[in-house]
């Protein structure tokens, strides 16, 4: 294992933060404290964490409706995110965005996105910007299996391939688009099959295994930085919760869901592999768990106490210049 103890701690803390952040959200919804549409990333934490481990603030990431994990992995402050979900003026987006639009451009986080496929061209544009300006930065788009049916996916990958842009396209294949199973909506077995339409490098990773995603994303990102163009990385994963908070999942096979959740939890897999390295012990994990809990309890407390935006703010931030 090529990881230092610090790196393992950092990684576990991040995955744990993502998981716990969303468990908090579920509690808060149950308590009637949060509004809006919430889509949970639970089960997919290894992917954002592994990919973003290769990125700096100058590299851009674009996300989806299911964006909490990507934001946290890209370094966005969970306290500011929590405040955003409470609609407070201290939130990442001053309360104007909410879950589907959390962004932090200074951290290279180009936003969650409420439009399926909508983030893909934005990221392609960030990669174009890096190429035109001659930086060594890359841009990474996260999107679901369902999003690969969108025209925006097709058009963006065509452009990225034509121009050899420094981009990475990460498909999180979690078995569903809303309530429709992937195999019902997509005419090919693996999403990587679609890369043939762009002559694009394509790789499958086990999205439940941080280490597998880390290695494959790293290779793709190195290639992009070296001017070798974009890659499509398919991560096989599973959506542990419903499509949105409140979805009773009557459409899903109980057995299959149980199997993934019990036996293939990315946090468990990480903990097992990291423990095998001998660099971390069971107690280390539990300590981190407690620290994360504390951080998020504080985040909720702070958010609840934070001020609401003023009604007049409804008309600010529309334009840079109004006249």
């Amino acid at each position: 294992m090529d990881f230092s103890r610090d790196a393992l701690i950092r990684t576990y803390r991040q995955m744990r933060t993502i998981r716990r952040f969303e468990e908090k959200l579920q509690e808060l919804v149950a308590a009637g404290k949060l509004g809006g549409f919430l889509h949970l990333y639970a089960g997919e934490e290894a992917i954002a964490t592994a990919v973003c481990a290769h990125l700096s603030d100058g590299d851009h990431v674009g996300s989806t409706h299911r964006g909490h994990g990507h934001c946290i992995a890209k370094g966005v402050d969970p306290r500011a995110m929590m405040a955003e979900l409470f609609g407070r003026s201290t939130g990442t987006n001053k309360g104007k965005g909410g879950s589907m639009h959390i962004a932090d451009v200074e951290k290279g986080m180009l936003g969650a996105n409420g439009i399926v496929g909508g983030g893909i061209p934005l990221v392609t544009g960030a990669a174009l910007s890096a190429q035109v300006r001659g930086t060594k930065n890359v841009a990474v788009a996260f999107f679901g299996d369902g999003a690969t049916n969108q025209g925006q996916f097709h058009e963006s990958l065509t452009m990225a391939a034509n121009w050899k842009l420094p981009a990475l396209y990460v498909c999180e294949n979690n078995g569903f688009g809303e309530f429709t199973p992937t195999e019902f909506a997509i005419p090919v077995k693996d999403i990587v099959d679609r890369a043939a339409s762009y002559g694009m490098r394509a790789v499958i990773a086990d999205g439940m295994d941080f280490f597998d995603v880390f290695e494959k994303a790293g290779n793709a990102i190195d290639a992009a930085r070296a001017g070798e163009g974009p890659t499509l990385l398919e991560c096989k994963t599973y959506r542990f919760c419903g499509h949105f908070v409140g979805d009773p999942t009557p459409y899903r096979n109980k057995q299959e869901a149980e199997d993934w959740i019990q036996n293939r939890d990315p946090l468990d897999i990480f903990e097992r592999k990291a423990a095998e390295s001998g660099l971390l012990l069971g107690d280390d994990f539990r300590t981190i768990d407690l620290e994360v809990d504390e951080l998020l309890n504080e985040a909720v407390d702070e958010a609840e106490k934070a001020p609401h935006p003023a009604p007049e703010d409804v008309l600010t931030d529309v334009y840079v210049r109004y006249s």
Binding site: G35, G36, F37, E84, G87, R88, N93, G95, K96, G97, G98, M100, H101, N113, G114, I115, V116, G117, G118, G146, A147, N149, Q150, G151, Q152, G177, E178, F179, T180, P181, F184, A185, I186, D247, P250, Y251, R252, N253, H308, P309, A310, P311, E312, D313, V314, L315, V318
Partner: protein, 335 residues
């Protein structure tokens, strides 16, 4: 007759009636079933993200109830092609905000085929979609973009204001031989009200005077009809008699009813959930200052959302959405 249904249930009932009465009616959309007919797998379909189309795949089967990929351009373009070749598709665009991903089949195909072909084709397509704010769904899931389809010649645009209206207008829309955009405002989807049993149509292009009055006209539609009625009640208490008109269809627009009301009252407020520029509110105001000029005793006031995207925060969203108080203020400002 005292049967009450939510707007969602009334719409479901209208679809069942339309599909039973005409085998060329098909239903297409993302998750309208949810992975097809699941009755044999021990699981159940959701029937649309808001549950509106639950149960339909069971009755009508997967040949007529089509879950599409998340591909709105393909979904609507295919529906247009099917409509031009013998079917009468009812397509679902989950939220009207997603029109950004599928405008071409509406703007350049559905609306224009008949005209471009010299009248030699018809496109009996209906697109159901959800509009409006109020659920903290933020900027990309809360828009009231019916003004955009209203501005496109060749399309019709309908916005119901209650469960009973939704049922009758949807049946008329499906059976209309022109392409119709049928908007379901979030503000009325969970509203419950009396809905007549059986098959009935409310004709497109006929506004409805919901409440008669002599001092001021309040033209409204969709979720704003309820606001207009609230305002009318408050105005009555203050001695002003307000007439409330529900447009029902934005295109065709019932100019006659609007102008008749203006003639009666001399004063007009138009209420519209959308942002102001190029809105239905301003469109109707323009009608009033042209054909209704001689009736006008005061400025025509438009009550709309501000020129801004829809914010997430509950406080801001409340500030964004038109309210009954805004209508009262507008009437006050008229002098």
């Amino acid at each position: 007759m005292a049967r009450e249904l939510s707007t969602g249930a009334a719409i479901n009932e209208a679809i069942v009636i339309a599909m039973r009465s005409d085998p060329t009616v098909i239903l297409m959309g993302e998750d309208v079933a949810g992975g097809g007919d699941r009755s044999k797998e021990g699981t159940e379909e959701m029937g649309g993200v808001l549950g509106t189309t639950r149960g339909l795949v069971g009755e009508f089967g997967m040949n007529r109830v089509r879950d599409t990929p998340i591909a709105e351009m393909g979904l609507l373009g295919t529906a247009v092609g099917a409509a031009a070749t013998g079917l009468r598709p009812l397509a679902e665009l989950m939220f009207i905000d997603f029109i950004g991903t599928c405008l071409d089949p509406l703007l350049n195909q559905a609306s224009k085929l008949r005209y471009m072909f010299g009248g030699k084709v018809k496109v009996p397509l209906t697109v159901r979609t959800v509009t409006g704010a109020g659920m903290q769904a933020a900027a990309q899931h809360s828009q009231s973009l019916y003004w955009m389809t209203t501005g496109i010649p060749g399309l019709k645009t309908v916005v119901p204001s209650s469960p009973a209206e939704a049922k009758g207008l949807l049946l008329a829309s499906i059976r209309d031989d022109d392409p119709v955009i049928f908007c379901e405002p979030k503000g009325i989807l969970n509203q419950v009200g009396e809905v007549p049993e059986g098959d009935y149509e409310i004709p497109l292009g006929q506004a409805h005077v919901v409440r008669e009055g002599g001092d001021v006209s309040i033209v409204s539609f969709g979720a704003t009809v309820a606001l207009a009625l609230q305002a009318a009640t408050a105005l009555e208490a203050a001695g002003t008699s307000a007439e409330v008109v529900d447009l029902r269809s934005l295109s065709p627009l019932d100019e006659t009813t609007i102008l008749a009301s203006l003639e009666k009252t001399g004063r007009m407020v138009v209420v519209d959930e959308s942002t102001p520029r190029c809105s239905i509110a301003r469109d109707v105001a323009a009608l009033c200052v042209d054909k209704g000029f001689d009736f006008l005793d005061a400025p025509v006031k438009c009550v709309t959302a501000p020129h801004a995207p829809v914010p997430f925060s509950a406080v801001l969203e409340k500030a964004f959405m038109p309210s009954a108080q805004d209508i009262l203020d507008a009437v006050g400002e008229m002098g």
